[in-house]
Amino acid sequence: MNHPYLDNSYETRLKRKMSLVRWKNWHIDPLLSILLISLTLVGLFILYSASNENPEIIGKQVWHLLLAFTLMITAAQIPPRRYQQWAPSFFIMTLILLIAVLIIGKVGQGARRWIVFGPLRFQPSEMMRLALPMMLAWFLAEKPLPPSLKQLALCALILIAPVLLTAKQPDLGTAILIALSGVSLLLFAGISWKIVISFLSTGILTAPLLWHFMHHYQKERFLAFLNPDRDPLGSGYHIIQSKIAVGSGGWTGKGWLHGTQSHLSFLPAHTTDFIFAVAGEEFGLFGCSLVLLLFLTLFGRCLYLGTQAQNGFSRLLIGSLSLTFILSAFINIGMVIGILPVVGVPLPLISYGGSAMLVNMIGFGIIMSIHTHKKLYSS
């Protein structure tokens, strides 16, 4: 064999050239990207049907996606140590914006969520979904893990402010997601199972007791409180129609574009929060399982990348982002199929809408950044 450096054959030159476009150099994880692209494409298909073949909505969503992928690639270029550096200031800025939104925020759909800067409008609560796990990861990065009780208490303090501020808007869905991002980060930080289980069990044990002591109208109010802004017509109309949509899908569904529940508008919010019902109606159990499998694979890939991360900040951040991502999907699906109360959590990467999409994709960008900016060790 010739010495490689002397080899000037065509193949070798091509290989050398190809190495310039190697994914790592672009800080992109190819497998994660393929999964993201397939999931968003599946999402577009479902949305096309859910929107009654509305080209305007599809156009906008494609625009959202392009922007989101661009932001993801951009986020992937920034090395993780920068994120670690910026974490506290980013968090404090977002927190200030969250307070500002309560005062000068713009009202939309009965809630004060938006901040408008000229043509730019954004939701600080969505930003908080990134800022909070970054902050907590920063906070715990240099501490020995598992964290001590004192550190846990501090974490709880950091967590509680943005959750309450978001819930006050009111945006219960996002508040839950922010809380979840914090809790999942602590889980990965090694918080003892005893604490997790005791919290969970006291919660589960006291909830029915509370429920038992409530009057009928209080129960109704409680249900309404769970979702004050998305269910103004009250009662179970949403969930009934959603269950009908999913249930009528059967094994293989009614076929793409043939769902009657969504096409004839019986299904409420069928492009946003209830879009999974459209999938259930048109693609049946097989389609639903496929979507779940895609989500699961995506999650698995992210977790794997987390285990490959080299420092505490990276690991915790990846863990929190990916677990929050999959849980938000499960909460949405659980709500659509009637095992969770209706809260405004969209199905990530599939529901129509820009803000959540951008935040999720930036999250994936950060994960890719962490993975592709690793220092090389010699064995």
Binding site: G300, T307, G312, R315, I337
Partner: protein, 616 residues
């Protein structure tokens, strides 16, 4: 105090993280399994239920109302028809601004404030894709105006609806009746599916009696509807089956003429073709305009009708129960002759009164000093009361009841009209049971001249007369001649013959009919008003029934008492005598001249109507 030494153990933390990752992944797998289980529960186990629910959401069955059958008289004159009325409707979902549309519409079509008020009210009760009526019953001019300007009004539509109309109005309302809005009570009596699209149901008369035949069968259209109630797709359509067209036995010309003849008097006229039982005219005055009822009569109009002294809603021809007066005498005579209690030659002397042996009560004849020697023929011609007082006593109530019952008195006439009454044929048992008194011979005596407890309807009188005219043949009276199915096949209604009256002495018919002819032609005959010498043969019998007072002798100064207390005047008759074409019963309340009315009707019938009725 020494700060606890905190050394980061990177190896161990990495290990901890991997452990947690595995745990979390297992947890997520568990959650996924939960979701899949739940999905299977919905999509596999309960698929059928949700599938049905989803179908129910989407598929709507819209009923289509059948066209109600039309009603004609025997000659094809329209008595009840359906006319299309056009209404102006707005589909809210298709109109940009309802306010602007209304403003623009106002400029071409007269829209009144109450129209807008009604519109606003019904706006709230309709789906946004349903047309909401703004103005009903557009005139042809308005319709044309709108169609010319239609391009300016997207979302404004004209809808047509079938409305029942009775062109002859009050002349035939007592027979045809009317339709009205369906209420819950009506719905409980019919097949509700069939009426799911119908607006009207027969309320009285023929419209009620032949409701089943007139209504037709509902049609259905299966449509796909969206959540807003808009029809997205038409799937399957089953056309409604229209109702049958009915041809009545009525001759509307004769009917109108009878109505005119009665004029302002309250009364009833029934004309029957005796050989078939077909009713040619059935008049009750005063009458009412049935068109008032179709869209729901206003409270005021209804009040007026109810409080009107003549009770226009009351059908005297089938529900008016009158004392027959002397018109009962031919039937009593038949009972007497046939039972052998008297013969054609049996004579009595009439001093002008009758008294039961060993009693004090005197029954007066209508003629103060009596008719002298009378046999049964003369007794009928001059309407001798004394003869029939005595005959009634001789016969006894049982024999009288038996014979009258054979002529249909006190029985259901079986006419094809709702709510006909049966009159009252009194008997000792009846009196004991209802009044609690025992029967007196006096009651029998009064029955002999058609007073007392005996009550008959004009229709029953006509039937009785028809049986005499036919010498015992008895046909059920009916109003339906034939009906035409939607496929144009015609079903004639057969005449139904009841058990004929077979007398032991058939010559009795001749005696009675001859006597009834004498009523008209004999110089002493009571039917003075009919005219002594009509150019055709007629048999008849007059009657005067007391309304006020019980005693004949109290009826002296007839014209001085208030009209409502005056006697009712009755006439039964048939012509021509040998082959009777018509039988009539005329009742005029509180007035005389029933016989002269009968003459005018007979003349009219023979001149205008009889040709068609001749068997061809």
């Amino acid at each position: 105090m020494t700060k606890p030494l905190t050394i980061k153990n990177y190896q161990q933390e990495s290990h901890l993280f991997t452990q947690r990752t595995i745990a979390v992944f297992c947890l997520v797998l568990l959650l996924t399994a939960t979701l899949i289980l739940r999905l299977s529960y919905l999509q596999v186990i309960h698929h059928k239920m949700y599938s049905t629910l989803s179908q129910k959401n989407v598929l709507n069955i819209i009923p289509i109302a059948p066209n109600r059958g039309l009603i004609y008289d025997r000659n094809g004159v329209m008595l009840a028809q359906n006319i299309a009325v056009f209404s102006l409707n707005i589909i809210p979902a298709k109109v940009k601004s309802i306010k602007n549309t209304l403003q623009a519409l106002k400029k071409i079509i007269a829209i009144f404030p109450h129209d807008i008020k009604n519109f606003n009210r019904s706006l709230k009760q309709h789906h946004p894709f349903d047309p909401v009526p703004l103005k009903i019953n557009l005139s042809e001019q308005e319709l044309a105006k709108f169609y010319v300007n239609r391009y300016r009004f997207p979302g404004v539509v004209i809808q047509s609806k079938m409305l029942r109309k009775y062109p002859l109005g009050e002349e035939v309302s007592q027979i045809v009746g009317y339709v009205g809005r369906i209420n819950a009570n009506d719905l409980s009596k019919v097949n509700q599916v069939d009426y799911s699209a119908s607006n009207y149901i027969g309320k009285t008369g023929i419209e009620k009696y032949y409701e089943d035949s007139l209504h037709g069968r509902v049609g259905v259209e299966e449509v796909e509807m969206n959540a807003a109630g808009r029809i997205v797709r038409h799937m399957k359509r089953t056309l409604p089956q229209p109702g049958n067209d009915l041809y009545l036995t009525i001759d509307s010309r004769l009917q109108s003429f009878c109505e005119k003849v009665l004029g302002a008097d309250n009364g009833a006229i029934v004309i029957i073709q005796p050989s078939t039982g077909q009713i040619l005219a059935l008049v009750s005055t005063p009458s009412y305009d049935p068109n008032l009822f179709i869209n729901g009569i206003s409270h005021k109009d209804y009040e007026t009708l109810l409080k009107s002294p003549g009770h226009p809603l009351f059908n005297r021809a089938i529900r008016g129960q009158y004392a027959p007066g002397s018109t009962i005498k031919p039937f009593i005579a038949i009972a007497g002759l046939d039972s052998g209690a008297i013969t054609a030659d049996s004579k009595i002397y009439d001093p002008g009164w009758f008294r039961l042996p060993e009693t004090k009560h005197v029954y007066h004849d209508w003629k103060p000093y009596g008719h002298g020697w009378v046999n049964v023929t003369k007794a009928m011609i001059v309407s001798c009361d004394t003869f029939f007082y005595r005959l009634a006593v001789t016969l006894g109530m049982n024999v009288i009841d038996q014979m009258l019952s054979r002529f249909g008195f006190g029985n259901d006439t079986k006419i094809d009209m709702p709510e006909a009454l049966s009159g009252l044929l009194p008997s000792p048992e009846w009196k004991r049971n209802t009044l609690g008194h025992s029967w007196y011979t006096g009651d029998t005596i009064l029955t002999g001249i058609g007073q007392g407890y005996l009550l008959v309807t004009p229709l029953q009188l006509a039937i009785g007369a028809a049986i005499i005219a036919q010498r015992g043949a008895y046909f059920q009276p009916h109003l339906l001649l034939k009906f035409q199915r939607p496929d144009e096949t015609v079903m004639a209604i057969p005449n139904i013959e009841e058990i004929p009256i077979v007398l032991q002495h058939p010559q009795v018919w001749d005696i009675v009919i001859h006597a009834m002819q004498g009523v008209i032609t004999h110089s002493q005959g009571t039917a003075v008003g009919f005219g002594r010498h009509p150019p055709y043969t007629v048999a008849g019998k007059t009657g005067t029934a007391q309304v006020f007072g019980k005693q004949r002798d109290e009826e002296r100064s007839r014209m001085n008492i208030p009209k409502k207390l005056r006697n009712n005047h009755l006439f039964i008759g048939f012509l021509p005598v040998n082959q009777p074409k018509i039988v009539m019963a005329v009742v005029v309340e509180h007035a005389s001249a029933a016989d002269s009315l009968a003459r005018r009707i007979s003349d009219f019938y023979l001149k205008n109507c009889s040709q068609q009725d001749d068997p061809k």
